[in-house]
Structures are given as C-alpha cells and as structure tokens.
Symmetry: C2
Subunit: 354 residues, 2 copies
C-alpha cells in the first residue's frame, strides 16, 4: 500500500497536531454532484451502484477530484448487512429503503445469521480494495456501518418509519427478543468492519441515525451498549497505524460522556449542540467531528464562511477537531457552496493550530 | 362560570400540593378513539371539524367521558393563525398540511397582518366558549398555539418538510426578513392566546415542534426569543386565578434553563431526557410536564405500569409534576392501553404526594 500523502484527518482523530483543521462531508459522494447523478444513471438502481465496485469507486473519488477534502468515505449503504442476512432490500424512488422480509417475531430473529463479509458482502470489500488502490495514498479511506439499533429499526419496521411502532413494541414488550436481534446484528457489524479494515479501510465510523428516538435509559441498553461491544471487538491497527473509530448518534448530544466512555476515538456531533460545550465535556477523551447545519450550504458563500468561523471559534485553539456537517449534505445544495465551505475550513482554521 | 371541581392540573403547574399526579395526553382527542373517527366522518374534512365549535367541543370532551383525565385541551390545529392570515390551509390525506400561498419573500412578509381573534379566528373563540360551558367545571381547559418558529416553518415551506431548505435559507441569508416574519407571528400568537383566555381558557401551552432543528444559538434567537415575548405579553389572570403557561420544545432538553428563564410556569418534556435530571436543573423554577414515550402505549398494560412507575420514581417526591406523554398519542394505540396509563398515574403517584 502506498504511503499516505495527507494524514490530517487521522492525526486530528488521534488528537495530534495538524497544520489546519481537516474536513470532509457526510454523504459527500451524492446527488448534489452532477457527476454522481451521471454515474448513478449509468449504474441503474441505487443498489446496482453500491454493488458495482468500480462504479462505487468512481463516485467515492468524484468529490475528491472536485474539492481538497481530507478523507474519502466508502460509497455504500448502511443497510448492506440486513440485505446480506436475506431481508431483500430495495429502494423505492422517493420512499427510501424497503425490506421484502421484515423481522418481527422471535422465530424470525432466531433464523438470522452473521453474514460472511468476503462472501455475501464481497462487493463491499472489493469496493474498499479498488478505492484504496485508486486513492493511491491521497487521503485516508473511511469504512462505515450503521449501528445495531439503527439497522434494527429498518429490519423490524421493514423500511423508514415515523412512529417506530413495531420496534418499540418489540423493545418494550419482549426485550429479550430485541436483545437477541441486536446481538446478532452487533456481531455482524463487528465482523463487517474488521473485514473493511483488512481490505484497506483506515478509519471507521458507526452511524446511529435513530438512537435519538430512545429514552436515556433505553439508549444505553439498546443502542450504546451494542456500539460499545463493537468498539471493543474491532481490529484497531492496520498498516502499522491505529485505526480510529468515530461514533455518531444523531440527537445524542446529551449522552456524549457515555459515548466517549466506549473507548472510541471520535464523536460525530449534529448541529443542535455547541461544539465548544461538547469539547468542555469530553474533549480530553475523544476528538470531535462536526458540526455545521447542512442547511447553511443553502446560504451565500459569505454566510457559509461566517458560520465556519463561528464553529472554529467555538471549538477554539488546538487539536482534536475534524470539521464536518452535522448530517449528510442535502441534494439540492449548489456544489460551489460546498467548495466555499471546504476552502473556508482550511483557510480560517490555520490560526487555531499555531 | 362554574367552580372548578378538579384543579389538580392547575395546582401542579403552580407547584402547589396535590393528592396525586394529574395527567392528560397530548392529542388526547384524536384518531385512536373510534368516537373521534365517527365525529370526524360526520364533520367532513379536518378543518371542517376545527371550524365547527359544537363538533370541536364534542371531540374535546370524548376522552374525558372515557377516562378520568385532569385537563381538557381545546380541539384545534396549530396552523389556524397562518390560515387566518390568508395563506390558504388545507390537509391532504396522509400528507399533512399544505398552504396554497407560502411566504418566501420580503414583500410577502410585509403583507402579513395580525388576525383579529374575534373576527378571522372567531370559530376558535366560539369553541373555547362552548367547551367551557359544556365542561361545567369538571376539569380546566387548556388553550394553545404553535410557537412562532414552528408556525413559520409551515408558512415558509408551504407544509411539512424534511430539510427545511426554504426557511433555513431565509434565516441564514436574510435574518432581518426572518425576524420580521417571526415578529408578526409572535404578535398574532399573543393576541390569539389572550383572546382564548378571555373566552375561557384556564391554562395555555405553546407547542414548539420544530425548535429542535436549530443550533443552540439560533434556537435562542429565532425560537425562544419569540416565545419569551409571548409569555411576557400574556394576560396572566382570569376568574381570579393565575393562568399558567407551558412551553414545549420537542428535542429541547438541552435548553431547559433558558426556557425556564422566560417566566413560563411549566416546561413540556419529550422522552429523550430523564425527568429527574430535568427537575434537578430547573425544578425550583418551573413545573415539569411529561414525559413517557408515546410508543410505550403499544406495549402491554403491565409494561405501561412499569414505565409509569419508573418516571414517577425519577421525578421523586413532591409537587410540580404533570404527567403526560412526551409527544402526541399515536393513532394506532389501543384505547384500553391509554386507560391503563391514566389509571396507573393516579394510582401509583399517591405515595409521592404524602
């Protein structure tokens, strides 16, 4: 493997000194880019694109060719694991993911097995290998997975949900069944992320999109508990370096201390918390990634710069900050605004690293 | 006006002693009740129901006839004010509210006026008067409004939204226009709530459903600031009693101290915060209303009792707690489960008031 030319992102996650604050964007390979839409059309369905390693590599690299980003993130979907478990994933245009065979009973949970990443999920591992080769050391590659709780919400509901009636009923009425489901998913995520590291991923991120719909007690029991198991089960070194892992619970600002105690290296923050406050609470233990409201990118480049400046000032002097949006970039954002955002982070952050 | 027979709810909001913890449910007059669905069919559209004071009274009283609830809440919609401003509200089945004429430019904001509650919103005031008469002092009647920020999201987006692209663009790019819009809405809400009190409302609640999509700084500037103006502008006495006001920001658990500082009497809590922690932070200043996850009502009555017991224990001994769900009751809940919930609150809370 070629030597890494830009290691700002990895250094910041390990709270080592950097020349400026590294930046990447959640969902940076996405529909706001015309070149992404062109590849997507060529590929066919969204899952066709995910399952074609060469095209997945192509879209992974597109934002890096356009912007001086400090990290690449594997182009894939969070629902590959349940799909590999046999639930039958498809995407209905405009309606999001749908599982043909949702999991709702103890019997259906019993039948679930841990997928072999180099068999049922080989297309993901191949994508990691192709991307690492094509990146050729420009920036590190982030591998990722959904959190067990988040994956379980889709598996039990059969798709996106507003009320989470089925999974909440399972959790409140039959917690043993809920725990059994989460355990097999957590084991699958651990195996999957370790395989991504073996294939070349240089950092990992766990997306807990729906942990924020739980009470504090249930968040600990049903979401964080399983993310902690995964963090403990990860291969933490590759290519002679530490492989940092980032946890991100959307709406999890109240629980940062507990999240940091899992042993992860970084926490992703959404924009509903001030990053300076978050740093005071947990900045001695973990790096922080975030946290500009993605909707700021709808505003003018001047306004975008102001918001970047404000977040940099809130974080303050020193190490341990990876700049990002607080959630994925929206599809109707002007690509030039994304460019203004990235340039502003690099330029305005230098004084904070002197 | 007849004397109040059950004043537990008002006493708890003013942090006075009660015999047991009062309870009501957000959206208690709603689709989970077959009798509501029957009246709704009779009325025609949802807005037809809201605009017919006799039918609005009928559905307001339905849950009280079924359960020993400690408060009634006016049956209405949060979007009556923008409708009265001329935006043309309708409800598309399954898609939520739609405004025919959204407000997006400085010119469109300039044109907005403060509706006269006894003219354009007379149907609401008539409903309050009819309900007060028909309640005949059984329990107090809660009047309500959406918060200025929450109303503005619908007014600018033209309906429900996922990304809030239009209002965020207005807020970030042209904050002066945003403030002008919020000011006229805040003035309208103040006038509207004062008219509800004059018509007979005995407590008030302001629903800030979408304050939680803001950064902490913008929450203060664009949502809380206007709720504070409203609290300051309210008539605080009627029938020789204080009219308590409750603020509820969904996802606002991080901002309770600032909310309590507005001078309101109670804070509504969603279920993502522990009510015991909330009490430690602000319980010396305000009462707390909440906060069971509405999805617990999908579970068995035994499990519902356990969750009620756990929240009562978290709040602990003494005054200042109004039990409620952390959000509106879901439409597919079994009405018997709602009954088990209400009975459990009354029964299990007595030891905490000795």
């Amino acid at each position: 493997m070629s030597k890494l030319k830009n290691d700002r992102f990895l250094r910041a996650l390990l709270r080592e000194p950097v020349d400026c604050t590294p930046v990447w964007m959640m969902r940076q390979a996405g529909r706001y880019l015309p070149e992404y839409r062109a590849t997507r059309t060529k590929a066919g369905s969204f899952m066709d694109l995910c399952k074609n390693p060469d095209l997945a590599c192509e879209v992974t690299l597109q934002p890096l060719d356009r912007y001086p980003l400090d990290a690449a993130i594997l182009f894939s979907d969070i629902l590959t694991i349940p799909d590999a478990m046999g639930l039958g994933l498809s995407f209905n245009e405009g309606e999001g993911p749908v599982f043909a065979r949702p999991v709702r009973t103890a019997q259906e949970v019993e039948r679930l097995g841990v997928p072999d990443p180099e068999q049922e999920l080989r297309y993901v591992m191949d994508a990691v290998r192709v991307i690492r080769r094509e990146l050729n050391g420009r920036v590190p590659l982030i591998g990722f997975s959904g959190s067990p709780w988040t994956l379980a919400t889709y598996m039990v509901e059969g798709g996106s949900s507003k009320e989470y009636a089925n999974i909440k009923k399972m959790m409140y009425d039959t917690p043993a069944v809920m725990h059994k489901l989460l355990a097999v998913v957590a084991q699958s995520v651990t195996t999957y992320l370790n395989a991504q590291v073996a294939a070349g991923a240089q950092a990992l991120m766990i997306f807990d999109t729906w942990g924020g719909i739980l009470t504090p007690r249930d968040y600990q029991r049903f979401s964080l508990n399983y993310m902690a198991q995964i963090v403990q089960g990860l291969t933490r070194e590759a290519d002679g370096r530490k492989v940092p892992v980032i946890l991100f619970t959307k709406g999890g600002g109240a629980w940062l201390e507990a999240m940091a105690a899992t042993g992860c290296d970084g926490l992703g923050l959404d924009w509903t918390i001030n990053i300076g406050e978050a740093r005071k609470r947990v900045g001695a233990k973990v790096a922080l990634q975030g946290n500009m409201d993605p909707s700021v990118l709808y505003a003018s480049p001047t306004r975008i710069r102001e918001e970047v400046a404000s977040i940099l000032a809130d974080y303050g002097q020193g190490n341990g900050h990876v700049f990002n949006l607080g959630h994925g970039i929206h599809q109707h954002v002007d690509p030039e605004h994304a460019g203004a955002f990235i340039a502003a982070v690099h330029e305005l952050s230098r004084p904070y690293h002197k």
